[in-house]
């Protein structure tokens, strides 16, 4: 159900852009106004979202670790799995952000006859996620060629390496294909695995369909339907230099592509996609496992009014003595007696 809603939403978006350009000739709306609005929404929304999260205190010290904690010097500890200091955390975060280490630990859990619980190899989600994120990043950076002039060297190198197979002309860029393949896998996975399908919501399907739409319109535009790329760059470079212009005669596929991307940008700060920033703010990842060395004080702790035992005994000592209840500190008659008694206790 969630999948249908999301699919229909993306199809409607495609239709809106297509009709808007083909029938209503709203090139300036879809090519300039909406992209600007979307990018503005993205930046403002993203900053506000991060600042909102930054204001949330971390009440407990909750790093999730899977290694020996640093304790006594002769016990070997796991520097990265259970980091004790900032550098360990930095390395662990880098491995999480760049290599998706925690996904790599994913296991398949199966219940066999007996009953026996078995854990199996399951790296497909890691592989799918890894390929998806890195392809998307490279595709995004490659698009800098439309937003810069002169184009930076690293973008050209990326393009050359990405297209080094020299298949066809315009040459096939591998990351475009791997992005589409990975997003397809991630989508099919949600349909195919019953448990995952059960927990999947429109918020899961929509970004996948949207990115599927973005990748496929991009591939369609580059290899099949063709647009005049020089006019496209005139438009995109105009957007980047804040002096927008809309050249005539760019195919509708371009406007569909840019409208879907605008949707993604605008949708980004309000969706689960902000894990882009959120991953850095996860307390289970970004805290050092040093709870035995440093006391973590809940920032929202307020001074609690307490009545200590000393104060209690001070208040009720006479009554306690009368009832024969032992007291810690007897009212000393002389200093000598007091010291004698304490010696006697020891």
């Amino acid at each position: 159900m969630g999948a249908m809603v999301s699919l229909v939403a993306v199809l409607v978006l495609i239709l809106i852009a297509y009709v808007g350009v083909k029938v209503l000739s709203l090139q300036a709306l879809f090519g300039v106004f909406i992209p600007y609005l979307a990018v503005l929404t993205f930046f403002v929304g993203f900053i506000l979202r991060i600042l909102k999260w930054a204001r949330v205190p971390v009440p407990f010290h909750i790093p999730t670790t899977c290694g020996q904690q640093k304790s006594l010097p002769w016990i070997h500890y796991s520097r990265i799995e259970s980091p004790a200091g900032t550098w360990g955390v930095v390395v662990r975060m880098a491995m999480e952000v760049l290599l998706f280490r925690s996904l790599f630990r994913n296991l398949k859990t199966e219940l066999h006859d007996g009953p026996k619980l078995a854990y199996g190899w399951e790296k497909w989600l890691w592989l799918g996620g890894f390929v998806f994120h890195w392809s998307f990043l490279i595709v995004l950076l490659r698009h800098l060629r439309f937003f810069t002039q002169p184009v930076p060297g690293f973008v050209k190198i990326m393009d050359a390496v990405d297209g080094f197979l020299q298949i066809g002309s315009p040459h096939l860029l591998m990351t475009g294909v791997t992005l589409l393949a990975a997003v397809t896998y991630l989508l099919i996975r949600r349909f195919y695995i019953p448990q995952v399908r059960y927990i999947s919501l429109p918020a899961d399907y929509f970004p996948l369909f949207l990115i599927f739409g973005i990748a496929s319109t991009g591939i369609l535009m580059r290899y099949f339907l063709k647009v005049d790329i020089i006019k496209v760059k005139e438009l995109t470079l105009g957007l980047a230099s804040l002096s927008p212009k809309v050249p005539d005669g760019i195919g509708a596929i371009f406007y569909v592509h840019i409208f879907l991307i605008s949707t993604l940008f605008a949708y980004f700060p309000f969706s689960k996609l902000v894990h882009l920033g959120g991953v850095f703010l996860s307390p289970t990842r970004n805290l050092a496992n040093n709870s035995r060395m440093k006391r973590h004080v809940n920032p929202w702790n307020y001074p609690v009014k307490v009545h200590t035992y000393e104060e209690y005994e001070e208040e009720f000592r006479d009554k306690m003595k009368m009832a024969g209840i032992p007291v810690e500190k007897d009212e000393p008659e002389t200093a000598e007696a007091d010291s004698e008694e304490s010696e006697g206790k020891e």
């Binding site: 930046f43 900053i47 991060i50 600042l51 930054a54 204001r55 949330v56 205190p57 971390v58 800098l144 060629r145 937003f147 810069t148 002039q149 184009v151 973008v155 050209k156 393009d159 050359a160 020299q166 066809g168 002309s169 315009p170 040459h171 063709k226 647009v227 005049d228 790329i229 020089i230 760059k233 005139e234 470079l237 980047a240 230099s241 804040l242 002096s243 005669g249 920033g277 850095f280 703010l281 920032p299």
Partner: protein
């Protein structure tokens, strides 16, 4: 804010990267490429027409060229019939470059603008004195 310093530094680094296309372009105006048709052969032409229409060539020349390559080199077929039924000899050097002999002002004008580096010239020789 908790750990505000670190978070704001992180946010600033992100913004510095993410807004790169904007601040690197601000105030710049790049002239759009004007591929030149100013060659002796084109000037001498009565009807200035490429093998296909201008719009088709702008969008599809790369595909046409790769099809020509495959046809000439792999199938040894050097005859191209265009959409109007006119015949052309398939040859980059002798057909395309006969008219468009100004690679720098024709090909490179747009390819430079769009940062496209076609590998035509890995094999083909450019007459106008080196690459």
């Amino acid at each position: 804010m908790y750990d505000g310093g670190k978070i704001i530094i992180g946010l600033l680094i992100f913004l510095a990267f993410a807004t790169f296309p904007f601040y690197s372009n601000i105030g710049k105006s790049v002239a759009k490429p004007e591929p030149s048709l100013d060659t002796p052969v084109i000037k001498a032409l009565e009807k200035k027409e490429c093998v296909e229409s201008k719009d088709f060539m702008r969008r599809n020349h790369m595909q046409l060229l790769i099809e020509w390559r495959d046809s000439a080199l792999r199938d040894a077929k050097r005859d191209y019939v265009n959409s109007k039924g006119k015949h052309f000899r398939i040859s980059l050097q002798n057909t395309c470059m006969k008219c468009h002999s100004n690679k720098k002002k024709f090909c490179d004008e747009c390819h430079g603008y769009a940062a496209v580096d076609p590998y035509c010239w890995d094999c083909h020789f450019v007459k106008e004195g080196g690459r």
